[in-house]
């Protein structure tokens, strides 16, 4: 059966820290400890955001702070309940929410 759910996407800097560790890592841990069943972190190769600087992974500026994107899909209430914690952990970045239909893989509930 399809569930009506919410896709949460969080765009932060790869170098952003939370309590002296990478923010994206701290966010994944926070999601896991709250019982979210999965999350994925994707790495951007170029872009610009709150700092309005173009970030790029091209050789000329390897040390650039690239975008890390964290994606989570779950029930809307669970995602919305997590937002205050999420906002408290971020000093800058972008949060997006989209309605999605999702279906867990067979056996997914048992994992």
């Amino acid at each position: 059966m399809n569930h009506r759910g919410t896709l949460l996407r969080v765009f932060v800097g790869e170098e952003d820290r939370y309590e002296r560790r990478p923010l994206y890592e701290a966010l994944v841990d926070a999601l896991q400890s709250r019982g979210f069943s999965g999350a994925i972190v994707l790495k951007g190769v170029e872009g610009f955001g709150s700092s309005r600087q173009v970030r790029s992974s091209r050789a000329i500026d390897r040390a650039a702070d690239l975008t890390a994107l964290i994606e989570v899909i779950d029930d809307e209430e669970k995602i919305v309940a997590f937002l205050p914690t999420l906002q408290g952990m971020m000093s800058s970045g972008l949060i997006t929410l989209e309605a999605v239909d999702f279906r867990r893989a067979l056996g997914g509930e048992a994992r």
Binding site: F11, V45, S50, T67, S92, I95, T96
Partner: protein, 115 residues
């Protein structure tokens, strides 16, 4: 769904092109990012896929032996529809065989630089 407090109703624009696509001497994805920045869009992010097909009809995969595999590139922009809509004609002219999608998204910018 309704926008939670502080969130705005916007659009997610996704542009799918190839890594080897060019705009003059520049990679097309860089030209797109530069154009978006000049036009005052608040942010854009480029992702490189690790495999895929489409557009040119060629298989794109890092595992296909090549010194410079032509991988899929995704450029994403989240903003108000009033900001995104005027960009579409120029983007459509730039992307050639690529394609773009538009979806509804609620968004919130965090941080003191936020508008």
């Amino acid at each position: 769904m309704d926008s939670p407090p502080g969130f705005r109703e916007g659009k997610l624009l996704r542009i799918f092109i190839d890594e080897h696509d060019r705009s003059g001497v520049q990679p097309l994805y860089s030209a797109i990012v530069e154009m978006l920045r000049k036009r005052g869009v608040a942010g854009a992010t480029v992702f490189r896929g690790i495999e895929g097909f489409g557009g040119s009809g060629q298989m794109h995969a890092a595992r296909v032996f090549s010194w410079m595999p032509n991988l899929p590139i995704l450029v994403e922009v989240i903003d108000d529809w009033s900001t995104i809509e005027p960009l579409l004609p120029e983007l459509q002219a730039m992307i050639g065989q690529g394609f773009l999608t538009i979806e509804a998204a609620h968004y919130l910018r965090v941080g003191k630089q936020a508008p």
